[in-house]
Amino acid sequence: MTSQEQNAGSAAGIPAAEARDVSKRYGATVALHSAGIAVRAGETHALVGRNGAGKSTLVSILTGLQRPDGGEIRFDGAPAPALADRDAWRQRVACVYQKSTIIPTLTVAENLFLNRQSGRGLIDWRGLRRRAADLLAGYGVDVDPAALAGSLTVEQRQLVEIARALSFGARFIILDEPTAQLDAAAIDRLFDRMRELQSSGVTFLFISHHLQEVYEVCQRVTVLRDARHILTEPVEALSRDELVAAMTGETGRALAEGVSRPPVPATAPVVLDVRGLRLAGYYDGVDLTVRAGELVGLIGSGSSGKVALAETIAGLRRADAGTVTIAGSTPKPGQVPAAIAAGLGYLPQDRHREGLVPLLSVAENATMPIAGRLGPAGIIAPARQQATAERMIRTYDIKTDGPRQPVSDLSGGNAQKVVLARALANDPKALVMVSPTAGVDVRSKASLLGAVNEAAAGGAGVLVVSDELDDLRSCDRVLVMFHGEVIRDVPRGWTDADLVSAVEGVEQQ
């Protein structure tokens, strides 16, 4: 096998990409302090660290978008090209960012050959589409080159970006949290593809917050913490707890167990009651109940309709049929204020798009749904807003300079805490949360889930809609959605394999 020869050859030899003693400051902030990484040719190397540990800075230095203040970058043993020579960089390294570098208004073919559609002279559109089709077929990417890039799914978009990177001749590819927006099946397909590319000699640097994925696809792992390099080890030599400890700098409890909670009495009132809910194209005939103090999980693949269901409960969508009852009252369907008035708290899927107003302060964001209670006649009393926000910052352990800081300055985990604080601000009787820990680091994850448990202990009924098994471990029961229907109701004590096979609908076929 060629890959093993390459691995064996390079283990002793020169790394495919290497950063040595790299430092970078932004004003007073040290983003990297003589950190380094060496990625061997042919391996898949994980880069992990909490938000703000310096991962993004290291990536932008490795891809030549930023100049390090000190240290050096080498590819295959040779010094990196000059920063201005983008073509030379692109032949050595490519990065698939979380933020798309696809231009949505242009076709897939044009995106693939952007700025190299032709040599000189006229662009041959037919030939361009043919070249694009060949390129995509060569990597087994089934996407129509004439389609507008904006119409692609996240998964297709990533594959197009990987194909584009490879077409430049780069054999070292950085994947920056590629799995954050994918469902479980798409993640598996991505991993299969990564393994195949790896066996044909492609080197990956893989960034993820999901440590399970690191163990699944990576051979070695580098941990950054507080702008410094902490360790680089083969993954099999590092237990999950050791890895978490390296990331957080403390021997914290792993999330794996979940919190044990007293059982919810059968007499507890039902706070969320969904009956026969149907929305064409998303879900059909969904019934579910959540009792006060109960923590219910809802899992399913991206096409299962689980997010649409959550959005319907929150009043963002209007169901074709069926009812949603929140704490005994039935709010007018399709209206968010009605749902809030009935006692619903909602944590949206994408905090950037639906959760926060980035330029407004922490205080304003957190108190938005209860602004009416901060003063008479629509006046927002600044002192009361401030006091409320300060209480929230303490309760949810939000790391911020103070209530006046714009939310856009906060790290992902802390921004998510603000969204959670807001969802809980009006003491909801029922709380619906979609992917509450997406893109959040290990420690923030624990404190977010802790706050959710506390809300449940305080008598709220909580519905956690998530693909992330760690989010669901504390739940009293987990509902599994498949193709728009709730197919299973799994009590506590499930195994990962159990739940994942149910999500994939394995028992169904």
Partner: protein
């Protein structure tokens, strides 16, 4: 090398969905206004037989040439994701300054009395300089294009009034009058010029790498930069071309009217944006074609002509024209089926 074989797995049903049929639809959108134009021609012919006479058609087209050049400039700038409101002042200031530099002080000139042959060059250079200055403020000083060019709109108009003392300039050298009044092969030169420039623009933006980079920048600047496009340089050039085209439009207008009015171009920018948006250019950048923009110009020109032929009273024509533009925008929004962006 086993690479390609092993990677080429059968497509999985969930994640991949060919988006076939999208492009023909997008192509079709380019021609969305053609039926509207045909309808207007029929309506015009029914209202007044004069409408279809070659004299009237030529007249309509010639009147639209200045607007067409401004729309060409604005469309390219909008596709690049920027704004330029100052075009409507450039169309007045550029010829006014050029003429003032060559005519004697007695005719409201500046008294420099440069050779009259330089006037055209001076006019075009003024346009280029204005575009370059806009670029400097927007790209180097990172100011908002909207507010910069709004400021420039006022400054440039003020400069023109200051230079000419608020007077219309009548003593125009023949060289300046030529382009706007000459007739080539039986068709006014200004129609040839505008038509040619649109063809050049359509080919450049459709079939050349640098032209496509304008779309890339408007669609996603970061992605364009990552692909090695020198985004600032391209936008700067686009803004300079915009100023140049506006100055050329000023020459055509001066030649057609035989003078430089103190308010030349005043209020045109609304029509410019309306034509561009009706023609399918997105205000968010990255979307639309120059052919569509040209159709937008023709639609507005025909509407204007039909209103005049229909004998709508001069006092009301502006209100009705504006209202029709708004209706056209609503129709464009409905036919495209998406929120206007």
């Amino acid at each position: 090398m086993t690479g390609t074989e092993t990677i080429a797995k059968p497509p999985t049903s969930g994640g991949t969905r060919p988006g076939g049929g999208r492009l023909p639809l997008a192509r079709l959108r380019d021609f969305a206004l053609v039926p509207a134009i045909l309808l207007l021609v029929v309506v015009g012919a029914l209202i007044d037989p004069v409408f279809l006479s070659s004299a009237n058609i030529t007249n309509v087209l010639q009147q639209q040439t200045e607007l067409a050049l401004l729309v060409l400039a604005e469309a390219i700038i909008l596709i690049a994701g920027k704004f330029d409101l100052s075009l409507e002042s450039t169309i007045g200031l550029a010829p006014a300054l050029a003429v003032a530099l060559v005519i004697p002080a007695a005719s409201n000139g500046l008294g420099t009395e440069l050779p009259a042959g330089l006037a055209i060059v001076l006019c075009l250079l003024t346009g280029l300089a204005i575009g370059a200055f806009n670029g400097l403020l927007i790209l180097r000083f990172k100011l908002s294009a909207f507010i910069v060019t709004l400021g420039m709109l006022i400054v440039l108009r003020g400069l023109q009034i200051g230079i000419t003392g608020g007077q219309n300039l009548f003593d125009i050298p023949p060289s300046v009058l030529y382009l706007g009044s000459a007739v080539w092969l039986g068709v006014p030169a200004s129609i040839w010029i505008s038509g040619t420039l649109f063809v050049v623009g359509i080919v450049a933006l459709g079939y050349f790498r640098h032209g496509r980079s304008v779309y890339a920048i408007g669609g996603n600047t970061d992605a364009a930069r990552a692909a090695g496009i020198r985004t600032d340089r391209v936008v700067w050039v686009v803004l300079m071309i915009g100023g140049l085209l506006a100055a050329l439009a000023g020459l055509l207008m001066t030649g057609r009217l035989g003078s430089v009015a103190a308010a030349q171009g005043d209020g045109m920018i609304f029509t410019v944006f309306a034509a561009a948006v009706i023609g399918g250019i997105s205000l968010d950048g990255g979307k639309g074609t120059l052919f569509g923009a040209l159709c937008g110009v023709i639609v507005l020109g025909l509407i204007n002509n039909i209103l005049t032929l229909a004998g709508v009273s001069a006092q009301w024509i502006q209100a009705i024209y504006g209202a029709i533009i708004l209706v056209a925008l609503i129709l464009a929004r409905l036919t495209s089926g998406k929120a206007q962006d």
